[in-house]
Amino acid sequence: MSWLIGGAMVLAAIAGLAVVLSRDPSRQIYALAANGIVLTLLFFVLQAPDVALSELAVNTVITPLLFLVTLAAARINKARQ
């Protein structure tokens, strides 16, 4: 069990680093979604299924999607001008 927690924590550190280090906004959004999946795994391993479910729905689906749509809207409006 402990190596599972350790592995999930290492993954969370890597995924978090990927979010910070990616400079291109659209790539950063996918890194954020991946980070959400890894955090879901971490919460699940730490036996917090309720938090894991919220994390999965909000941080891997809804937040990245809203960011992507915002980015698309910004690009479309820029192209129009």
């Binding site: 309720d50 479910l53 729905a57 689906v61 809804i62 749509v69």
Partner: protein, 257 residues
């Protein structure tokens, strides 16, 4: 700010913060230490007194239900604010039509994509409703169930394309879901108050543990929150998507006003 200044600030912050963080970290209970007293009390008492098996739901919707009422109102206010801002710039008259940018190609979808998305969206919606209803029995609950139901709308969009999606998912219906869910939750809080009990006091019969109906008022509150959250996320998605489609104001017919 130049790089040396930034470095100096960083080192200064390090000198101040590291001892403080170290001090606090050492005072924390060890990783994986036995549960806190509060958690132990909740685990010991709430199955007997509230007939629920998911203690998180029991704490959220009963023991500190007032906090959840505040959180729910906060979510409703935030979503309403975002919708007002986005709709306000487009005009209220456009709410029931799918925006369209002239000359933009619509990517065709294969039959397989449409079929998979329809099946997956239905199953996801069903799972969201299941989770919102079983909040007192298994992990999950209103918020999670609502968010899952909201994401089924995205799958539907993926399969159907924007225009048919807008024909299926009506924004007034989402408004009613969002506001109605919040209204029922506030009602569940206020009715005990009017009957002379405390706010959100569990006045309904508790039901059987591990059953669909267990936890009394918690089932109502859970489902109301689920409906409201599903409506909120659907509305957010719809208004944000519309933002990428709205034609610019010059090409819009303005003769009506």
């Amino acid at each position: 700010m130049t790089t040396p200044w930034r470095l100096a600030l960083f080192v200064l912050a390090l000198i101040v913060l590291v001892p403080a963080v170290w001090h606090v970290a050492l005072a924390l209970p060890a990783f994986g230490a036995p549960t806190e007293q509060y958690g132990a009390a909740v685990n010991a008492l709430l199955t007997a007194t509230r007939h629920v098996t998911n203690m998180v739901a029991a704490v959220n919707f009963d023991v500190r239900g007032f906090d959840t009422l505040g959180e729910e109102s906060m979510l409703v206010c935030a979503v309403t604010g975002a919708v007002v801002l986005l709709r306000g710039t487009r005009g209220e008259s456009m709410t029931d039509r799918a925006g369209k940018i002239p000359g933009r190609a619509v990517a065709p979808r294969t039959d397989a994509t449409v079929l998979v998305c329809r099946i997956a969206a239905t199953l996801t919606l069903l799972f969201g409703v299941y989770m919102a209803l079983h909040g007192t029995v298994t992990p999950g609950g209103g918020f999670q169930g609502g968010a899952i139901a909201g994401s089924s709308l995205m799958l539907l969009y993926l399969g159907e394309g924007y225009e048919s999606w807008r024909r299926m998912v009506r924004s007034p219906a989402l408004d009613v879901l969002e506001g109605g869910g919040a209204f029922v939750f506030v009602g569940a809080a206020a009715v005990p108050l009017m009957l002379g009990y405390a706010l959100l006091q569990n006045v309904l019969p508790f039901g059987t543990p591990k059953d669909l109906y267990s936890g009394g008022l918690m089932v109502v509150a859970n489902f109301a929150v689920g409906v409201s959250v599903a409506g909120s996320f659907g509305l957010l998605l719809l208004e944000f998507m519309e933002e990428t489609r709205s034609p610019d104001s010059e090409s819009m017919p303005d003769e009506e006003d």
